[in-house]
Symmetry: C3
């Protein structure tokens, strides 16, 4: 009997974490993977404020302590003074994967011109892929759809678990050698 | 009676600043904002050589001293040894906004393949947005058109003044929450 | 009688360099320039493992010692632990040219969604342009086609030799001033 693949879901928001409003982003990510993944998986959820050392600690704990193969954040990617998610993410990454941010911004730009203000990035820490999403719940599925086909193979390459997807939703692309 | 919004316009060129030829980029930026902005504004103009410490000092003075809400540079973004505008800009930014450079390069690429040689970037310092443009005067309107719809909302997010645009020219996009 | 322009071709692969399999990427780059360039040129070829200090030494030797005007690498750009080509490249660059990686990823993305996993970059060291390509041989012509029109002018700007191309294959773009 295999253990479920763990996916960290981290909502980063001063207001949601202090109860000023309800977190909608975390549940939207949970819903997305429920629809898209066909492998056995479970989420590890965190709701934290826009505090750089705290975000770094949470990302390290989810990767190194909880063994998450994938950690997805929402929030804190804009230009505002309290937006520090990309800085915290870069601080814990072994390697940044610039293509994720480029592609998510390019896809969002076809919807809203302010997509260029999002500083979201992604990269690997150990055997885990960490991926930032914007804070707006309606951007979550749009951004994940833009990159999800490459996520299972990325996790293969860093020796993580084998993710499978519902091909009616997302065809996981695994190139042949050569 | 409110004071006009200040916009810094910085031409960075060894040859223009030493009088070898006339600055065409600075006036092109002035002309652009005259056509596009409908709020009360005034420019603060500088013409300086391709010297990294001098560019950094000018950017700091325009943001911290002159209180410019937006600072637009032209020149010094290429691969040549004297091109140091992106380095100087990064040195004074609090946060880099990678999406601006990506989008300006993508739009310019549809015109000229050498757009990939431009290293222009953008980002925030305090309550100001700093934005690099290439040195070629004809690229100025093209690059500003590629990003201008997102500029007023960016300045809102960093607690700067409220910019308005002529919607016949540029529709300033301000997303609703959620 | 002028000396041929030198182009460094560097295959970076643990397995190819240890003889586990044959290098296909290096010959694909050689073939590409044989088809595309019309100036007198010669290649300087290296086949080395995925070792960051060794890659840095090789790039420095090809630029500073061998006088290559252009150095093209293949391999080591992915997210795997042994993939360190972009790190080694950045360590020896004077200036990074982000537009090359962006454009190569954008073009490859139209073929395979996993193109976002490639961290390839480019930039200048002295009078030389260094350019990373992915390791897959079939991506080599595709990525070079995406950027080659801008390469001769880039080398002009950094005071390197004058490259010419077969316009039936690639039109080298050299913008007029202004």
């Amino acid at each position: 009997m295999s253990t479920p693949i763990r996916i960290g879901i981290v909502t980063i928001s001063d207001r949601a974490s202090s109860g000023v409003y309800q977190d909608l982003g975390g549940p939207a990510i949970q819903q997305y993977f429920t629809e898209v993944l066909t492998c056995d998986w479970e989420s590890v959820y965190r709701l934290i404020p826009d505090d750089q050392p705290g975000i770094e600690d949470t990302l390290r704990e989810l990767v190194d302590g909880q063994g998450c193969a994938l950690v997805v954040t929402t929030g804190g990617t804009g230009p505002s003074p309290r937006d520090v998610t990309p800085e915290a993410t870069r601080a814990v990454l072994d390697k940044e994967l610039e293509g994720f941010g480029e592609q998510m911004r390019a896809v969002s730009l076809s919807k809203v011109p302010t997509a260029i203000l999002s500083r979201q990035t992604a990269g690997v820490r150990g055997r885990s892929l960490i991926l930032n999403l914007p804070g707006k719940p309606k951007a979550i599925a749009e951004c994940l759809d833009a990159v999800m086909a490459a996520v299972p193979y990325c996790i293969d390459l860093i020796h993580g678990p084998y993710l499978t997807t519902d091909p009616a939703r997302i065809v996981a692309f695994r190139p042949k050698a050569g």
